[in-house]
């Protein structure tokens, strides 16, 4: 580890000592479980550690809050997704109940797919999913969604464009 890295981790260590308890109790007010609050708080410092560009921090509590906020948003999004997926499965009467293992795998995948397609309009997502998962051709997708083939091809362009952009980030 280089000297700069050491000083960075020392610096974050100092922040940890002075602000960890504060962050925990602040998070705990909004998360019913103390353990969850501690997890998020710890993750916040881990993120800070892996981002050496941020020193020196003039308002550490503001930055910590911002990072913690993003982590909580991710946690909540995950739960929203999980709940929505389980509900969708539940309403799908003829669908067989997946095993716990399959479900856990599926929820991971769901989260990754959510991030991959994040920000795209619902119609674009629907088009891409029908192509990617159901293997439908554009005329089939157009019929399924009641849109023109021209739109299907536009939506596919937007979806691939986003995925390819993420690849180069």
């Amino acid at each position: 580890m280089s000297g700069a890295d050491t000083s960075h981790s020392d610096y974050v260590g100092g922040l940890f000592r002075s602000h960890y308890d504060w962050l925990c109790s602040r998070l705990h007010r909004h998360l019913d479980s103390r353990a969850h609050a501690e997890d998020i708080a710890a993750d916040t410092f881990v993120q800070l550690l892996s981002a050496p560009g941020v020193v020196p921090i003039r308002q550490p509590r503001a930055l910590l809050t911002t990072i913690a906020q993003r982590l909580m948003y991710q946690l909540w999004r995950r739960r929203d997704l999980e709940r929505a997926y389980l509900e969708a499965l539940d309403h799908d009467e003829t669908c067989t109940a997946p095993s716990a293992e399959a479900l856990a795998q599926m929820l991971e995948a769901l989260h990754a797919i959510d991030q991959l397609l994040d920000g795209l309009p619902a119609k674009v997502k629907a088009t891409f999913l029908l192509s990617q998962l159901n293997g439908l051709t554009y005329p089939e997708i157009a019929a399924e969604l009641g849109i023109s083939q021209r739109s299907v091809s536009d939506y596919m362009t937007r979806a691939f464009n986003r995925c390819l952009r993420l690849c180069l980030e």
């Binding site: 909004h30 929505a84 997926y85 095993s99 159901n134 691939f160 995925c163 690849c167």
Partner: protein
């Protein structure tokens, strides 16, 4: 530069996915891809990213189902911003206390079978448990009792004699005590069934009802309680030997029995669910059973990638 690269790659993928790409298009795409290492690298990266779709694909999850989940509203970002940054907003966050909806417990079960897998184990007391496919159970023996927890699926118990310790099976919705030495229990998606093969079984349901099931009888139950007690059909344990044996049963029951043997989604059109079926089938090839059924019943089987199977009216 990157924009050009992304736009070119996008055009290729949009064309190749259309269902109208010709062999010539594929050849030209391969040439384009090989023409520059950056083209190839980008394609590889995209393929890696899209690899995540293999999981829903393998599980037969449709685009429509996934779409419903992705459309889940994320309304909490704003709540959070107000709550954290705002001056001590103590807005109740009870919805956060709910545990994640993943019953990971099954991963740690003592005995577990996967799709299409059956297993028989001998317990410490000499009793034998046979688990049907996609089942999981825990063994909890102590000096007072022999308890088996059926977490999911179906099991046949051959109970060894023990003067002191009763043999009990706990499921999500029922508690069984065996007085004989052979019984079968199944519980999937809230629907349970007990068959007393040899000797009586005492069943306590979740809502406090108790039923004495005499040998040679079976009963279905769910959250609401017990169904009518019936004489058991001879085919109930045929799966132990790898067979599905039915006599004048609804098609829906056959499909339910096949689910633990089918990798993926098996959909049954409700309009044909009540068709009557009789026969003896080998469980190990559920696709073949479906084809056989399609030859004798007015049904039509459609398959998408083999994992997604629809059983519809012909």
């Amino acid at each position: 530069m990157n924009d050009d690269l992304i736009n070119d790659a996008t055009r290729w993928y949009v064309l190749l996915r259309s269902g109208q790409a010709t062999a010539g298009d594929w050849q030209r795409y391969q040439l384009w891809r090989a023409a520059d290492p950056r083209h190839d690298a980008l394609c590889r990266q995209l393929e890696t990213r899209l690899g995540v779709f293999q999981i829903p694909q393998a599980q037969g999850v449709s685009g429509q189902l996934l779409q419903q989940a992705l459309d889940a509203p994320s309304s909490r970002r704003q709540v959070l911003q107000v709550a954290l940054v705002g001056a001590g907003v103590a807005a109740g966050a009870t919805w956060l206390a709910k545990p994640l909806g993943v019953p990971l417990a099954d991963l740690t079960a003592d005995i577990r079978t996967g799709t299409g897998e059956r297993r028989t184990v001998t317990l410490d007391d000499g009793s034998e448990l046979s688990l049907n496919a996609q089942s999981a159970a825990d063994i909890q023996f102590d000096p007072q009792r022999r308890l088996v927890r059926l977490r999911e699926g179906e099991l046949l118990a051959r109970v060894a004699g023990d003067r002191i310790r009763p043999f009990m099976i706990q499921t999500y919705q029922a508690r069984l005590r065996a007085y004989g030495n052979r019984l079968l229990v199944r519980e999937r998606a809230g629907q349970g069934q007990v068959v007393a093969l040899n000797g009586a079984v005492e069943i306590d349901s979740q809502n406090g009802e108790r039923l004495q099931l005499a040998a040679g009888h079976e009963v279905h139950y769910d959250r609401a309680g017990f169904g009518p007690v019936q004489a058991s059909s001879s085919g109930a344990t045929a799966w132990v030997d790898g067979f599905l044996q039915v006599r004048d049963r609804p098609l829906s029951e056959v499909i339910e029995a096949l689910r633990p043997y089918h990798n993926g989604v098996l959909r049954l059109d409700p309009s044909v669910a009540g068709l009557r079926v009789s026969g003896l089938y080998r469980l190990d090839n559920p696709q073949q059973i479906l084809d056989t059924l399609a030859r004798t019943l007015p049904i039509h089987i459609t398959r998408r990638t083999g994992l997604w199977v629809n059983v519809n009216a012909a």
